[in-house]
């Protein structure tokens, strides 16, 4: 016996990688990176028990393992299925997966207002990204959509249930970060809702993190709502010495003004370090912080326009993996709107960015 921990070989979309036993298919796919990583709307690696619910991360297991090579009959949620040695998985190379995922996206959007133009999450919304990447234009749903009233959950957080996709992330966050969870899911089926039961404010030093984990615009920061569009803001990493949390944050600037403070998010949109309410809601002056430098955001969403510095491309390209076929899914987000321009680096624009800035660059060409 060697002391070297044994690694499992797993092949996803024809790319082979070695991972530690106990790794989920999703995490293995994320190690490969790029579009091999299935979209995940409910799984959150930092929240125990999360995942399995949204079903966007479904993949096909075409070979169970070296020992038991039988394929799995059903598509499985990659976030909650652990790899076996010799497992072979198909994500975007599987017609079944592409078809089922389009179905899941349609279900998620079925009752969704999709009024992104008036939604505060627009630009950093995972559901937006998901629909661009995997959805279909148009809907087959011809009925009235479900709506809910907006609720203030205390001083800082607003809940707009209409936009919620019931990923349960905020419930896990409150459960695992605060000493007493006072909100949860009431009722069931398509009438289930996130609620506090008796209208109640959520107050706990760490409850603000629910805003960051919420993949959509259901939980928003009341100190920031509608003050600005995220893509006009410049994210800057900063820290302070805080007795409650790590104090590591991202400040969102327009000009000299800090519009909001969030936790730092990694390339999968997950919070790196939880932050406390005081850092998030109270410290909105540059003098409260030690600035580290621009935050690099390399997700495909509009928020990242102008921030493509240092992006790493996956080693192998999809055309090679797909035997020369082009992946069916990807719509170039940058073709959608005039302000989504990878060629414009926001950090290089002096002062606040305006829509003119984008026009100017376009016209200059």
């Amino acid at each position: 016996m060697s002391d070297q921990p044994q690694l499992f070989k797993v092949t996803i979309d024809n790319i082979t990688i070695e991972v530690a036993p106990g790794t989920s298919i999703l995490e293995a796919a994320r190690k490969i990176g790029g579009d091999v990583a299935p979209p995940a709307m409910c799984f959150y690696s930092k929240l125990k028990g999360s995942g399995g619910k949204c079903r966007t991360c479904l993949v096909e297991v075409s070979k169970g393992s070296e020992k038991d090579p039988r394929p799995m009959p059903k598509l499985v949620a990659s976030c909650r299925t652990t790899v076996m040695d010799g497992m072979e998985v198909k994500n975007i190379t599987s017609e079944r997966v592409v078809d089922a995922r389009a179905g899941v996206v349609e279900f998620l959007l079925l009752n969704h207002p999709l009024d992104c133009p008036v939604c505060d999450q627009a630009g950093e919304c995972h559901l937006q990204d998901l629909s661009y990447d995997h959805g279909k234009a148009g809907t087959r749903y011809e009925f009235q959509r479900r709506t809910f009233k907006k609720h203030d959950l205390g001083e800082y957080i607003q809940l707009h249930m209409t936009r919620c996709i019931l990923c349960y992330r905020c419930v896990f966050t409150a459960e695992q970060l605060t000493d007493k969870r006072s909100h949860g899911v009431l009722d069931r089926g398509d009438h289930a809702e996130i609620a506090t039961y008796i209208e109640k404010s959520l107050d706990n030093d760490f409850i603000g993190n629910v805003i960051d984990v919420c993949p959509v615009g259901a939980l928003t920061d009341k100190t920031f709502r509608f003050k600005n569009r995220v893509w006009f803001l410049k994210p800057v990493d900063a820290h302070c010495s805080c007795s409650k949390c790590s104090g590591k944050v991202t400040l969102w600037y327009r000009g000299d003004e800090v519009f909001r403070v969030t936790a730092r998010k990694d390339q999968w949109g997950e919070v790196e370090d939880w932050i406390c309410n005081e850092c998030r809601f109270e410290k909105k002056k540059t003098s409260d912080w030690t600035i580290e430098g621009p935050r690099v955001i390399d997700r495909a969403s509009v928020i990242s326009q102008g921030h493509y510095v240092g992006v790493q491309k996956p080693k192998e390209t999809f055309e090679a993996v797909l035997d020369g076929r082009k992946p069916r899914l990807f719509m170039d987000i940058h073709s959608v709107s005039g302000v989504n321009r990878p060629d414009i680096n926001l950090s290089l624009i002096e002062g606040p960015a305006h829509s003119d800035d984008f026009d100017r660059v376009t016209k200059k060409d």
């Binding site: 995942g51 399995g52 619910k53 949204c54 079903r55 966007t56 479904l58 059903k74 598509l75 949620a77 909650r80 078809d99 089922a100 179905g103 899941v104 349609e106 279900f107 998620l108 079925l110 009752n111 087959r140 749903y141 009925f143 996709i165 019931l166 349960y168 949860g184 899911v185 009722d187 069931r188 089926g189 398509d190 009438h191 289930a192």
Partner: protein, 450 residues
């Protein structure tokens, strides 16, 4: 008369009480198992009997028992699933209401086999009067030394607790049941881990249906091999069927699984034929989740062979031309019934009962209900039928628990076999509001049995 193993004594005066039940030979199985057999021997008998789970999926009970993990120092639990909320299924209620001691006896033997010292009966909230009956039986059993500490001097301890549900179909799904039993919201868990490894309070747990556990009593009394001789193939023993709908004699019947569907519907011993001199149009043979079959495919398989009331025969032909034994809820529709209305009713049920955890089931069930409502009201479009097909296809197999499948299958089967009826609602919107469709060509071609 067929063999009766469970309901044989159901009509004995006073059988609900301990004295009469004992006088009629009750608790012999406990004596035999605890005094003359070890736990492993009981599991072995149940394996030999070929008993399949009666809750719906038909998984071999003995095999399930042998999967239970036995880590050192960790208690194990048996949970009796008495949530029975599937439309058309009411056999467990009958058993618990009339023969409570049979269930308790089955629970003692099964708990002994599995090494459970605390066993739970999780009962559907709407069965409001039954917990009292069960608790009475438990108290009597305890007073007579069949429960409590050191039962029959064997050193085996057991308590049985009755836990009332709050009226949710989903809490019949075994992992949702476990969550609910723990006092949480009844959301199904994501498997693995399976209950046999981590169930109630993370302890190894077996969940079995009421009827499954009651059947352990005759198995121990007569021996697994004898039990396996009743029935055919892998459908051993007897099965309770709750028959309802347009039949002359709705009720709970115990059958040995050798009789034909035709005999079950038309013979006076069972359903007694279709009510009001009508003809048989369709039937859902195993509870609301299983595919509906038109009369011709119900009585004969696609190959033209007689269809029997057992696991294999009912599922002959797969979903294309067959159905399932399911939980034994036998719902009969006569020629005047509308399959579109029936399908809508079921869709409404599943929409209401979805726990809402996973998106295909949460959103898809609501969408299908709305489309079916529109069709039923004569306002549907012809494309709605294909749309329904596509929605159910995208739910099936893509959800956390089988409720998604259970919502998809009835709709798929209704469209598969009765598409022209759906179309008729679209093309004859006015007439469809005045009368039910009931085209004769679906009906059993035989003359009405007098």
């Amino acid at each position: 008369m067929g063999v009766k193993l469970l309901l044989e004594k159901a009509h004995v005066e006073g059988i609900r009480t301990y004295e009469v039940y004992r006088r009629e030979g009750g608790y012999r199985a406990v004596e035999k198992a605890l005094k003359t057999m070890g736990p492993d021997a009981v599991v072995e008998e149940v394996k030999k009997s070929g008993l399949r789970g009666r809750g719906g999926a038909g998984f071999p009970a003995g095999m399930k028992w042998s999967f239970i993990a036995k880590p050192e120092g960790v208690p194990r639990h048996l949970v009796c699933n008495a949530d029975e909320s599937e439309p058309g299924t009411f056999k467990d209620r009958y058993l618990m209401e009339f023969l409570p001691h049979l269930l308790i006896e089955g629970l003692i033997v099964s708990s002994f086999a599995l090494g459970s010292n605390a066993t739970y009966i999780y009962i559907r909230g709407e069965y409001a009067w039954i917990p009292d009956i069960l608790e009475q039986a438990i108290a009597e059993a305890k007073a007579n030394g069949w429960l409590g500490k050191n039962i029959l001097g064997t050193g085996f301890d057991l308590e049985i607790y009755v836990q009332r549900g709050a009226g949710a179909y989903i809490c019949g799904e075994e992992t949702a049941l476990i969550e609910s039993l723990e006092g949480k919201r009844g959301n199904p868990r994501i498997k693995p881990p399976f209950p046999a490894i981590k169930g109630v309070w993370e302890r190894p747990t077996v969940v079995n249906n009421v009827e499954t556990l009651a059947a352990v009593v005759p198995i121990i009394n007569m021996g697994g091999d004898e039990y396996a001789k009743i029935g055919v193939g892998k459908s051993t023993g007897t099965k309770l069927i709750s028959a309802c709908g347009n039949i002359n004699k709705p009720g709970v019947y115990e059958i040995d699984m050798t009789i034909s569907v035709e005999e079950f519907i038309y013979s006076d011993e069972y359903c007694g034929g279709i009510a009001n001199g009508k003809r048989l149009k369709a039937c859902i043979p195993g509870g609301s989740s299983v595919p509906i079959l038109p009369a011709n495919l119900l009585l004969k398989t696609a190959k033209g062979e007689t269809r029997y009331m057992n696991y294999e025969s009912l599922s002959d032909g797969g979903f294309a031309t067959g159905s399932m034994m399911g939980s034994g809820g036998f719902i009969v529709l006569d020629e005047d019934q509308s399959v579109v209305r029936n399908t809508y009713t079921l869709a409404r049920f599943y929409r209401h009962e979805s726990c809402g955890q996973c998106s295909p089931c949460r959103e898809g069930t609501g969408w299908m209900e709305k489309l079916l409502k529109r069709l039923l009201e004569g306002k549907g479009k012809i494309t709605d039928i294909d749309l329904l097909w596509d929605i159910q296809r995208k739910i099936e197999g893509n959800t956390i628990c089988p409720l998604g499948d259970a919502a998809a299958w009835p709709i798929a089967a209704a469209i598969r076999h009765f598409r022209d009826e759906f179309e008729w609602y679209v093309t004859n919107p006015e007439e469809s509001q005045r009368r039910n469709y009931g085209l004769a060509h679906y009906a059993d071609p035989r003359e009405v049995v007098a």
